[in-house]
């Protein structure tokens, strides 16, 4: 490996070392903070791996479903809101309010309305993430460059052609930013919801359960998996972004 790639490993190693030192130092109760080695040993036990993998799959499936619904509806509604100024004016305050509202606070009412199952989780994720995609898409459509539209007009483009060939590609970088934020938020909200709703075995559930059963190494292992999942989500979207909006900001 070349030097820069090796350098990237230094940070994680330093962090693991600090963790190791603290948990061995007696500063904190060792039972509450197992060493990294103990935590990583969880990943050598076949049945634990299976359980963690199942939990991670559940969490992924849930957040992905919510994310896909949010991406689809958010983009379509964002285009409508961004394209028609009158619709934007009407809904601006409502959208801004719900976007500013901490989404997790909506979980209790959503539980009341949609029951304590996966539906509630997906509704929460789709709603919160959908708003973010919507806002970013709408702002991308609204902040378009008037000259690029004028070029298309001079070339005789129809309204529909201007929308699909000029305005949408121009809004794409903004849409992708919305998708990136949403992907992280989808995972956060899914895990939070899983902690509240004990109907199935997602990562959030595993973390809470391990904590209440005093299996702290397993708790930290599940947290690491959740972190890894979020990391992968973000990496995947960076790839999408590099592929489709490589020209953004240049």
């Amino acid at each position: 490996m070349e030097a820069p790639r090796l350098r990237r490993l230094v940070g994680p190693l330093v962090l693991l070392s600090i963790w190791h030192v603290i948990s061995n130092s007696g500063l904190v109760n060792k039972v509450l903070l197992p060493t990294p080695t103990e935590t990583l040993l969880v990943f050598t036990q076949a049945e634990k791996i299976t359980a963690l993998f199942a939990a991670a799959s559940r969490t992924t499936l849930l957040s992905l479903s919510g994310f896909i619904i949010a991406a689809t509806l958010g983009t379509i509604l964002g285009i409508v809101v961004g394209w028609f100024s009158s619709i934007y004016d009407i809904f601006d305050l409502v959208i801004e309010f719900f976007r500013a509202l901490p989404a997790a606070a909506l979980l209790p009412p959503i539980l009341l309305l949609f029951g304590i199952g996966n539906l509630a989780k997906i509704v929460l994720v789709s709603f919160a993430c959908g708003l973010i995609v919507l806002v970013n898409t709408a702002s991308g459509v609204r902040r378009r460059n008037p000259i690029r539209t004028m070029v298309a007009q001079i070339e005789g483009a129809t309204k529909l052609q201007i929308l699909f060939r000029v305005v949408l590609p121009e809004a794409l970088p903004s849409v992708v930013i919305g998708l990136r934020i949403s992907a992280s938020l989808a995972l956060i909200l899914t895990v939070v919801a899983e902690m509240f709703i004990s109907t199935d075995e997602g990562l959030g559930r595993r973390i809470v359960e391990a904590q209440s059963l005093f299996r702290y190494a397993e708790m930290y292992a599940a947290i690491l998996v959740a972190g890894g999942l979020g990391f992968c989500f973000n990496k995947a979207l960076v790839k999408v972004s590099d592929r489709f909006v490589h020209w953004a900001g240049k």
Binding site: R148, V151, Q153, E155
Partner: protein, 285 residues
């Protein structure tokens, strides 16, 4: 004589332009154009006041005027994206009534589509007309080869605007305006964003393209030197509200070489234009 949409068979854009059939080509007459805008506060501000001049065939017409004198407004009206409050645009020439104009903007960064490569940017107008991808790329490549072989090489045709130099990007934007074979090409300070060397080069490139394709041309310039070097007719606008101060013929021989810039004729023409312009700005000396 009747109003038509510009190039009626494929464009939906309405224009103030009228086409008249005449036995000889009398060119494009811009007559008494007046335009005002609503300013903040409600009162209207007169931008163009009775602008009159013409663009004959085979003459390179350059428009020169002070900052904010409404040159771009005038171009938008001629291009058909804006309506004048009064005045007329008449094209009098033999042949059919189908007429198309196109506009090259000053800033290629704003006017090119960053998500399309050079070839697809040029072919964009063809995309709107539903020309299949393969054919429109062929047409764009053929055009590029004709007008810009020295500036953009074949290996660079699929590059994106951000991967090209300023001169190359402006060439792409000029080529995009030419791909549908317009009858009139409008250039709005199209070299203002280029560095000095590239500007030199592009002046010759544009005149060369025009000499070969012979469209009507109106070139807005911010530089008297550039205006005299490129033009056959120099139209000088007044301060806002703009009207035509003077129209100067530039009888320098073509094809022009850069040496012409050092000739007495060039110097005299430039001084004459400068004098008109400075008297307008600062009053008589």
């Amino acid at each position: 004589m009747r109003p038509i949409s510009v190039s009626s068979h494929r464009l939906r854009r309405q224009s103030a332009l009228m086409v008249k059939e005449t036995p000889t080509d009398e060119g494009l007459k811009i007559q008494g154009i007046r335009k005002s805008f609503k300013a903040t506060g409600g009162q209207s501000v007169l931008i163009l006041d009775d602008v009159t001049f013409s663009i004959p065939k085979n003459k390179f017409v350059v428009l020169f005027g002070p900052n904010g004198s409404g040159k771009s407004t005038l171009l938008s009206i001629i291009a058909g994206v804006m309506y004048p409050d009064a005045g007329s645009l008449t094209l009098a020439r033999p042949g059919g009534e189908s007429f198309r104009s196109d506009l090259v903007f000053q800033n290629y960064r704003d006017s090119l589509y960053p998500w399309l490569n050079a070839l697809d940017n040029i072919a964009f107008p063809l995309t709107l007309q539903g020309v299949p991808k393969k054919r429109r790329r062929e047409e764009a490549a053929a055009l590029l080869e004709r007008i810009g072989a020295d500036i953009l090489r074949k290996s660079e045709y699929l590059k994106y605007p951000y991967q090209l130099s300023g001169g190359q990007q402006q060439l792409v934007s000029i080529a995009r305006s030419l791909v549908t074979n317009p009858d009139l090409l409008l250039l709005d300070e199209s070299f203002a964003a280029l560095d000095h060397d590239t500007r030199y080069l592009m002046q010759d490139v544009v005149v060369d393209i025009w000499e070969r394709m012979k469209f009507y041309v109106l070139f807005i310039s911010h530089s008297i030197w550039e205006a005299v070097y490129m033009g056959d007719i120099l139209v000088i606008l007044s301060k806002k509200p703009a009207h035509v101060l003077d129209i100067i013929d530039i009888p320098l021989p073509r094809p022009r070489k850069r040496e012409v810039e050092f000739s007495q004729d060039f110097f005299d023409l430039r001084s004459r234009a400068l004098k008109v312009f400075e008297e307008e700005l600062y009053g008589s000396p």
